[in-house]
């Protein structure tokens, strides 16, 4: 951890205002994220786990600029991006991309796959010159495992897993250094989820990508992450490598969370020797 960190989040605080019911004045705030600190180095995968309401998605959305931070610093390659102007932010977007949860909602239904992948270059025209965009888009499709012949098809003609590949291709288009995956595989069937996880793994090696991986699924987090942060009520309650956390959780909440994860073959690891059909362990 001596190398320069790619992303550094310090004392991040995000709240949603509560409005009074009469005059819609702001009378208070709901703290979604209270105090979150972590760093991501280049090429590293950091996982954020937590249950609904833990603030994990808010952290991701604040880093990418979809929500505003109320306090704290977010540094990307040493620059504070919470204070950035619009133009600075736009430049930052090139280095930081996002893959969304819902493969059915995250692609504009009115654009073809090629148009979807080319769209980032409309915002950043210098990345790929105009005359090479079509071929580059097809190359990206090929890289994420989609048949480039389908470039003119529309999102609804693809399955969930294929759509998520389109979303990944769009994120890769700007050659980012960090990709934020917000529940990116949660909506996929297990057999397809594994394909996408493997694709993300391959891309990481190939482009030296760093991931901020947000998920409620601990087994996915365990599989893909180098470091894991456990969020509860907007605070990081525990941090460590997946092995440390799974084998020796310290915090009470972490213990409860990990104990609740269903085990595929509970009869194997001795934790549960009860015959099937009786009370499951907690």
């Amino acid at each position: 951890m001596t190398e320069v960190s790619l992303l550094k989040v310090q004392n991040l605080r995000v709240s949603y205002p509560i409005h009074s019911s009469i005059l819609q004045r702001r009378i208070g705030e709901n703290m979604a994220v209270k105090d979150v600190n972590f760093t991501i180095s280049a090429g590293q995968t950091v996982g954020l786990v937590g249950e609904s309401g833990s603030g994990k998605s808010t952290v991701a959305r604040t880093i990418i600029g979809l929500e505003k931070a109320d306090g704290g610093r977010i540094e990307f390659e040493g620059r504070d991006i919470t204070q950035s102007t619009r133009t600075e932010l736009k430049a930052l977007r090139r280095d930081m991309q996002m893959v969304f949860q819902d493969p059915f909602a995250s692609l504009n239904p009115r654009l073809s796959v090629q148009e979807i992948i080319v769209e980032p270059w409309l915002a950043h025209p210098d990345v790929v010159p105009k005359n090479r965009r079509a071929s580059e888009a097809k190359a990206l499709m090929d890289r994420v495992g989609l048949n480039p012949d389908y470039a003119s098809r529309f999102p609804h003609q693809f399955s969930g897993g294929q759509r998520q590949r389109i979303g990944i291709a769009r994120a890769l288009a700007l050659q980012p250094k960090l990709i934020i995956c917000d529940e990116a595989v949660s909506a996929l069937d297990v057999s397809v989820q594994a394909q996408v996880l493997n694709l993300l793994d391959d891309l990481k090696q190939e482009f030296n990508l760093a991931y901020l991986f947000i998920s409620h699924d601990l087994s996915v987090i365990e599989h893909i992450c180098d470091r894991v942060l456990v969020l509860n009520g907007g605070v990081v309650v525990e941090e460590g490598t997946p092995r440390e956390l799974f084998e020796n959780p310290q915090d009470d909440y972490t213990k409860r969370l990990f104990a609740a994860v269903p085990v595929i073959r509970p009869w194997l690891n001795g934790a549960s020797s009860k015959p099937a059909g009786t009370i499951p362990r907690y």
């Binding site: 009074s20 019911s21 009469i22 005059l23």
Partner: protein, 307 residues
Amino acid sequence: MLGYVIRRILLAVFVLWGVSTVVFIIVRLVPADPALLIAGDTATADQLAALRNQMGLDRPPLVQYGSFLGGVVTGDFGSSYTQSVPAMQLVAQALPNTALLAFLAVLGALVVSFPLGVVAAVRVNRPIDRIVTTGSLIVQALPSFWIGVVLLLIFSRTLKWLPSADLTSAQSLILPTTVLALPLIALLTRLIRSGLIEVNGEGYINTARAKGMREPAILFTHAIRNALIPIITVVGLAFGTLLGGAVVTETVFSFPGIGKLLVSSIHVRDYSVVQACVIVIAAAFVLINLLVDLLYAYLDPRVRLAK
């Protein structure tokens, strides 16, 4: 809930202020000089000036606006220059007639549209549903003044069954009520039908089925209440169409309501009466919608119990 009620009431007050202001501005835009209208072309400049002074037209606009708003609050809209009585008095005479007409129309519309909508929803895409939906589509397209004329032609002039004008008997209410209720029947039938169909796909309907409830019981306990709550709001808004429709319908049937008063006042440029009519109709509409909103909130626990 209390916050919601207070917010709704504040909003209603604000809207009434807005309506009054808009009416004030529009009426001040009138190219004709009200004083000239009243005094007539033969009046001398002195007479006109005196009349202007009496009507407050020579005062600064802001002062006029202030006394106008004061008048709105106290119900004083000045005198009708054609009939030399307070405008509000004319409105007060006409209002109960229109209220009766509107009430009968809404009642009739509910009585007719409810079974039609339910039958169409239960037999969706069957012949009866097609007849009901097509029928309501046609009825919705009927120009109300024209259908009024046609009914008048058939029942009053040709068959001589029903009287055409005045409020002399209960029979004379039948045609105007029908004309007024028709578009509402069409609208409500369509809404009740689509509301029920939409609710039918909800999870709690399946839950009720899994509880072993029969379809009619599900329809009348679980489905109707959920389908009707959003429709209540529409009924409130439909009152606006209804009050607007009264303007046309009353003119066709020479029915002595506020709509006819408004149109005839516009023709003789009696602007104090016009102002009074418009503001009273708008106020009635705002009031009804306020009540509807409160009813809605009361019926939907998600709104009633929201903090």
